[in-house]
């Protein structure tokens, strides 16, 4: 049987067809010549005439070759398909005869493929699926680096300078995110979150409203009539999707706003709590200002402008602005980053790591199935040998075995897709909130195509290695040896290699999750700087209409403070502008009085307004000086309390209490020093913080904060039980003041770690699956080894081998590849743990303790998996082993 029949590629046929046509024509010419010579022509004449009869012989030959090639192609295709059909039928028959094997293999693969598909669908939804912006890659957001620390907020003057760079940017829009407006004149007043943007905002993004119109330049002029565009979700939730909404007037912050449009639904994917967009209406003075940064900036690149050129232009713009203002720091730089990347943020990295991890699990599953196939191949080697003897080529045999793994992988993929459907839902419901677009994750066409591709690759992985070996030259020996399958009982480096691979992959996953677990433990041990248990927080909002006077605001809050403190079960109560770990920090720069510091030397500090008793209520120590008192009011000298880290920065060698500092144009006296708090996150260092009494909060600041404070209470019973009593206390002061967003400080603390915990949970789950799969693999291989060696063990025992000797034989055989795998796994772990660097806290990616603990765990499990079959080997009765022959 020719080899080329089983691997017939059409390009190989080209010379064959040409030769075929040539031979056939040559025969024809010869025959015609013979005939013509017999009729009396000379040889030369006869040859010329015979060729002439073909007409243009080259053209005719070419036409024949063309048909011939078409014939060969369709023939080899037909042959291939019919062989494939045979192979698949053969594979199905074989699998039906071994249902235990088939089910084990399919379920193993389905778990691996299903988990991979689920993670991929999350990756696709969050990172890969196209954004609802026109030409999304042309949209950039700017980042400015001042004195080495990057931030995303710009001064008015910088925004104007960026706008002037029309050579690089088609449209530039300033954005104030997280604006909160009180919506009144409806049944239930509420605070709605939205964005204030320049008129060009939607031109930058290239999106138009689904109904109504977009902003025009005149909407953005100071003093222009207020207009607002709302999100699809808010429109549907609040106005039941009523399209007559366009043109209606809403009362926001007690001012009339005309609704001019509603954005399309897919635009909701960016910030679910963003319900409206309104023009910023920046004044000329604001656009020339060198102070007061609170706006981020996005832009659409001009045609042909690269990201690098955009960064150059942005850098030029901020440096130019700095030069115009000599008192500002000249140490500034800026760059443009793809807006897409800013939105997706570190989810790309996290999800890719997760996909890698789940890919490793799939690989382990594949190796397990390959191992099963290998064992099965040994069982089947007699059958294969017969087929080979009957004339099946080696290529054909390999293909037959591949067909089996293909059938397994496709069946695994079908079950896997069903598993993925469920897993995606679990993933989305367990995921921390705020992952953009995750709610859109699902099994769609792209995911199905990916899954199909993964299963094809899996089938090659699981099939190729055993196929090559089973179809190899050892076949004839298996016929001669009466089909006892002795081939598998020889030393088996391939099988050992597979076990080592599994162990190495499992070790990599275990190390990754070990590092994350250690990170979680370290985070648990971080002292947040306050005592989170039995602390309730809830936001208070003074309605804008009535509360315009600063003294009235302060007085009302003071009354609420007293009323709350008297609620039974409340131990202490306090008010503060922002509680820790809620990402609403306000920051400014401060300097010690009398030392004229350059802009570069000023210290950046978070600041917040608080009531007396705040530190006491939070359980934060006052390390020096005194607390705020009711007498620190609007008429008294301005005072402040600095955190220990701020005190150290401002006065490294002196006592801070009694010193004065300059902040936002005021001079205030430091009356106390508080302990540090992990404000931004537990894994971030405490930020230097300045506390000021809310009695002294200026009118402008009340406007920025929306006349809002957070009520913090330390309670004796569980915090949730006191909420309605506190609400009553607030209403007793003013029935129109809402108390909202209630929560416990413990919840805030735990939700600040939700992302990290979710990632840890996923990786630990994957690692556990990997460990189980790998130990099943180890068990399978050792058990197989024992079963193949039953006769040998029996003989050895009959000849008086000590049991210890048999133990050693089996254990060495089982453990050697495991040790190799652990060594390779350690190397692989060191190489891949770097990917986790940003998610780690208090532990280095190459932490030796983690590596050792993981290796020990893996070895322990592997030894257990080895011991079970080893015990069976000990029970082998010499007589039965020999009788089995």
């Amino acid at each position: 049987m020719s080899r080329s029949r089983s691997f017939s590629w059409s390009f190989l046929n080209r010379p064959q067809v040409e030769a075929e046509v040539g031979d056939e024509f040559a025969f024809h010419v010869d025959m015609t010549m013979q005939m013509l010579v017999a009729q009396g022509m000379s040889m030369a004449e006869a040859r010329a005439e015979a060729v002439r009869r073909f007409g243009d012989i080259a053209v005719v030959a070419a036409e024949c070759q063309r048909f011939g090639r078409q014939r060969d192609r369709s023939r080899s295709r037909a042959e291939y398909m019919s062989e494939l059909k045979q192979d698949i039928a053969f594979a199905l028959r074989g699998l039906r005869r071994a249902p235990g094997f088939a089910i084990t293999a399919i379920v193993t693969l389905a778990l691996g493929i299903g988990a991979t598909a689920a993670v991929f669908s999350a990756l696709y939804a969050v990172v890969l699926s196209p954004l609802p912006f026109a030409d999304a890659n042309r949209v950039v957001q700017f980042e400015v680096t001042r004195r080495g620390s990057p931030e995303e907020i710009f001064t008015g003057a910088e925004i104007s300078a960026l706008r002037a760079r029309t050579d690089a940017f088609s449209y530039v829009s300033a954005v104030r995110r997280g604006a909160g407006f009180t919506l009144t004149g409806v049944d239930v007043p509420e605070v709605i979150g939205g964005m204030l943007v320049s008129a060009d905002y939607f031109r930058v993004l290239g999106v138009s409203p689904r109904i109504g119109r977009s902003f025009v330049d005149s909407d953005d002029h100071p003093g222009a009539p207020h207009v607002v565009i709302m999100s699809d979700r808010f429109w549907k939730a609040r106005f039941a999707g009523d399209s007559s909404i366009v043109g209606r007037t809403l009362r926001l912050e007690d001012e009339p706003y005309t609704v001019i449009g509603v954005m399309p639904p897919d635009f909701d994917a960016f910030g679910a709590d963003n319900k409206f967009w309104a023009p910023l209406q920046l004044s000329a003075a604001q656009l020339a200002s060198h102070s007061g940064r609170s706006l981020s900036v996005i832009a659409r690149l001009a045609p042909g402008v690269t990201l690098a050129r955009a960064s150059d232009a942005a850098r030029g713009a901020v440096r130019l602005t700095a030069q115009q203002n000599p008192s500002a720091s000249q140490d500034v730089s800026a760059r443009a980053r793809r807006y897409v990347d800013m939105i997706v943020g570190d989810y790309r990295q996290r999800l890719l790591v997760l996909l890698g991890a789940v890919g490793l699990v799939l690989l382990i599953a594949c190796v397990n199935v390959a191992n099963l196939l290998l064992a099965r191949g040994t069982v089947r080697s007699r059958e294969l040998a017969i087929r080979a003897a009957l004339g099946a080529g080696r290529g054909r045999l390999v293909r037959q075995l591949l067909a089996e793994s293909l059938v397994l992988a496709l069946a695994g993929a079908i079950v896997g897709v069903a598993i993925a459907f469920g897993l995606v839902r679990v993933l989305v419901s367990l995921a921390p909130s705020g992952v953009p677009r995750l709610e859109h994750a699902g099994v769609n066409g792209v995911v199905l195509a990916f899954t199909f591709g993964v299963s094809i690759v899996s089938s090659i992985v699981i099939g190729l290695v055993p196929s090559l070996r089973n179809a190899g030259p050892a076949l004839q020996t298996s016929l001669r040896e009466g089909g006892r399958g002795s081939g598998g009982a020889r030393r088996d480096p391939l099988r050992a290699f597979l076990v080592a691979t599994e162990v190495a992959l499992a070790m990599t996953l275990l190390t990754g999750s070990g590092l994350l677990i250690r990170t979680a433990i370290h985070l648990q041990q971080v002292n947040p700087g306050f005592k989170p248990t039995n602390l309730m927080t809830a936001r208070l909002l003074l309605p804008p209409g009535r509360y315009r006077d600063v003294a009235l605001i302060a007085q009302t809050y003071d009354q609420i403070h007293s009323a709350a403190a008297q609620v039974p079960g409340v131990q202490r109560a306090a008010l503060v502008s922002v509680v820790p770990l809620t990402h609403n920090q306000l920051a400014t720069s401060v300097a010690p009085e009398g030392r004229s510091l350059s802009a570069d030397e000023r210290v950046s500090a978070d600041f917040r307004y608080a009531s007396p008793n705040y530190f006491d209520t939070m359980g934060m120590p006052l390390v020096d000086g005194r607390d705020f008192a009711r007498t620190d009011d609007g008429s008294a000298p301005k005072v402040g309390i600095v955190s220990a880290s701020l005190a150290k920065k401002l006065w490294p060698t002196e006592r801070a209490v009694g010193k004065r500092l300059e902040v936002m144009g005021d001079k205030i006296t430091v009356v106390g020093v508080s302990g540090d708090v992990h404000d931004a996150a537990l894994n971030a260092p405490p930020a230097p913080t300045l506390y000021m009494p809310f009695y002294q909060e200026p009118a402008g600041m009340w406007n920025v904060t929306g006349r809002s404070l957070v009520l913090v209470t330390r309670t004796i019973p569980r915090p949730e039980t006191l909420f309605s009593a506190l609400q009553k206390a607030v209403v007793s002061v003013d029935p129109s003041v809402p108390l909202t967003d209630e929560g416990s400080m413990s919840d805030i603390l735990s939700s600040s770690m939700a992302k990290a915990r979710f990632n840890t949970m996923l990786l630990v789950t994957l690692a556990a699956i990997a460990l189980v799969l790998a130990s099943i693999g180890v068990y399978g291989v050792v058990a197989y080894f024992v079963s193949q060696r039953t006769r040998e063990i029996g003989v050895r025992m009959a000849l008086g081998a000590a049991p210890a000797h048999i133990w050693r034989l089996v254990l060495t055989r089982g453990l050697r590849p495991i040790v190799w795998g652990a060594v390779a796994g350690a190397a692989l772990s060191l190489a891949t743990a770097r990917l986790l660097r940003e998610q780690l806290f208090g532990v280095a990616p190459d932490d030796p303790t983690t590596l050792l603990v993981v290796a020990a765990l893996l070895l322990a499990v592997a030894v257990l998996a080895t011991l079970m079959p080893a015990r069976r080997a000990m029970r082998v009765m010499p007589s039965s082993a020999l009788a089995a022959e």
């Binding site: 025969f27 024809h28 009869r53 073909f54 012989i57 005719v60 024949c64 048909f67 014939r71």
Partner: protein, 108 residues
């Protein structure tokens, strides 16, 4: 039916007919047609071979290399079941065609 198709069909029918009795090589097919029509119908080599390859591609014929009576290697064509069906169909259409044009061109 366009005339070229008619011509193709006629050539195909002649070749299939030639092969319906026994397998032949290309030269043999030409000789058979010439003998049967007393040298009146002369199929050209430049038409015959492309037709043979086309019909082989379409599965009407199969070819096999064999040895002639004189001991020479030649490619022998034989008709398939599909080819026989095609021959029947072509013959019927040709008969209809001749029946249609005969009264026009050769009025009795």
């Amino acid at each position: 039916m366009p005339a070229t198709d008619r011509l193709h069909g006629t050539l195909d029918a002649l070749v299939l007919k030639a092969l319906s009795l026994e397998p032949r090589h290309g030269f043999g097919i030409l000789r058979w047609i010439a003998d049967r029509t007393d040298d009146i119908v002369r199929v050209e080599e430049g038409s015959l071979y492309p037709a043979l390859y086309r019909m082989e591609r379409d599965g009407w014929l199969v070819a096999e290399w064999g040895v002639t009576d004189q001991g020479r290697r030649a490619k022998f064509y034989s008709i398939t079941a599909k080819g026989r069906r095609q021959l029947t169909a072509e013959t019927r259409e040709l008969a209809t065609f001749i029946a249609a044009i005969t009264p026009v061109l050769l009025p009795a």
